[in-house]
Subunit: 329 residues, 2 copies
């Protein structure tokens, strides 16, 4: 068919890394070196090995080289920060931005706890409102960026924003974005003693369910007594929890994460949006996808690594678990 694949140029949406990978060089378990693809932007020649190896966590082969797509720096960029009385208000704002067809390059949320940590840790050079806050990134042609900032400002004020600021120049842009950048470090700075641990974990749900799962997870965290911030990629329905805990609180933290994962699966989401399953989330896969789908993944593992040499038993188990080894769902 001619005409299925009308192609555009640069679209300013910072997606996941995998969308930017054209080709990989991979060393397979038997030592064979393969290149998954040449470097055109589009190919339908054979199976998509590139995507298969991305996110396989070293269990199918060892990636030694990656060819990435290039893009130009946007002609114009900006950042805006809006704070809201609640997560629901903040999410409602983003929903209206999407419905209005405004192609925002990035839209991130930090919760009140996260904003408090940023202030308390002094990670940035200013004081922030300690309520749910949305960070918008705009990129495109100069008039487009200006127009989009204006449109988003109007929508934010209609959805009860308590404040809305946008940058007037590169320096202000960096300043406004600095809180978003400081999220992880600011929670780490809250450790009461050097033995405290930080657990960063993530899940993703359909965008419409994001405020519900964040609210439920926040309530659970508050009840647990742990200090935990939330930082979300709203446009993807994906959020991270950054949880502080001591050795003694390990089981409490595990409970919080377990319930967060369960909630995500029940809302038709995934046990991890970006982090991968590794060992800790491996046994959740069957709950998310079903036993048959995990079996299909196991076939892939065994096809590429029949001797089970590479990161064995990560992502999928290749042997039956011992009795009692799998956590109750």
């Amino acid at each position: 068919m001619v005409g299925t694949g009308c192609s555009g140029t640069n679209a300013y949406r910072y997606g996941t890394m995998r969308e930017w990978v054209l080709s990989l060089t991979v060393v397979l378990a038997d030592g064979t070196v393969i290149k998954t693809r040449q470097r055109p932007r589009k190919s339908s020649a054979g199976y998509d090995l590139t995507k298969l190896f991305i996110g396989s966590e070293g269990t199918l082969g060892l990636i030694t080289e990656a060819t990435l797509k290039l893009t130009v720096t946007p002609a114009s960029q900006n950042v805006a920060v809006a704070s809201f009385p609640s997560i629901q208000n903040a999410a409602e704002c983003v929903t209206h931005v999407v419905e209005a067809g405004i192609p925002v390059a990035g839209v991130e949320i930090l919760d009140d706890v996260q904003m408090k940590c940023i202030n308390a840790s002094g990670s940035t050079s200013r004081e922030w409102k300690e309520s749910p806050t949305i960070f918008f990134r705009f990129a495109g042609t100069p008039g487009a960026v200006k127009e989009q900032v204006g449109m988003v400002q109007k929508i934010a004020s209609k959805t009860a924003s308590k404040s809305f600021e946008f940058a007037r120049g590169d320096e202000e842009m960096a300043e406004l974005w600095s809180a978003r950048k400081a999220a992880l470090w600011s929670v780490m700075a809250m450790r009461r003693n050097p033995d405290d641990h930080v657990w960063t974990t993530d899940v993703a749900v359909p965008m419409s369910r994001l405020p519900d799962i964040i609210d439920a997870t926040k309530a659970d965290m508050a009840k647990s007594g742990l200090l935990a911030g939330i930082c979300g990629h709203v446009g993807d329905g994906n959020f991270h929890a950054i949880i502080l805990f001591s050795d003694k609180e390990k089981e409490i933290a595990e409970g919080v994460v377990h319930r967060m994962v369960k909630r995500a699966v029940e809302m038709e989401g995934t046990v991890t949006g970006e982090h991968g399953v590794g060992l800790v989330k491996r046994d959740y896969l069957a709950h998310e996808l079903g036993e048959s789908t995990v079996d299909a993944m196991r076939r892939l593992k065994m096809a590429f690594d029949p001797l089970r040499l590479l990161n064995c038993d990560k992502v999928v188990r290749t042997e039956q678990p011992a009795p009692g080894e799998v956590k109750e769902w």
Copy 2:
């Protein structure tokens, strides 16, 4: 890691269909039914089975259901059409559009032969310039679309465009896009007798090589004496040839396609951008990707379909070819 996946909202770039698929239901060769994924926009839970089945041409399983991403209709859209003295001028225009960071939603090229066929077949309601022509699609917020049309118009005039038209309203938009839509049918309408065949085939190369490969392929087609139009997705370095031939001219057409494929591989491209390899391009895969990569694909096939029940020997051979069966490279 927190913060790798900053997420935007709608980016108006009509990509390939695969970018819009969230999840698939697939019947495997042994009758097992699997669902590859739940429906969040982002997941890193396990291997990417979704992308594996997309484009596998029915050789790994039977797709029975697909869950797609939704997007809103852009607030504003437009179409512009620019004609150029040569393919090189047209490509230069697109290069400058990309370099200027203008996020065009679609950019398509039709060559002079293609434009002649559209006029001769009366497929549209107007007369077109019979020279290489670029069709731009714009989508976004109203001011952004207006700004982008203006920027592209300036660039086109600096790269020797012979004409530049943009739509003033939905009707004109449909009219300007009508030639792009009529590409395939207008060449088919040129058949001299009902037994003539139409061969549609495609390759893709890195964007910078697109004008070179189109020029070389056009010269080869002219020499062959066959009527053949070219229609390209410039933003992806991907183009289609639409070749008319009679039973007697079959070998000539095969030669044209063979050399077009070879040229693409030599320019670090792919033997097919959208159509897939099926049987005809299957033996080209090793030239594009190397024997080891094809072996890795064969492992996938045998892992999912050990009895070779599904579209056997398409995409990859599962048995040694008979002597003389593989075309000379």
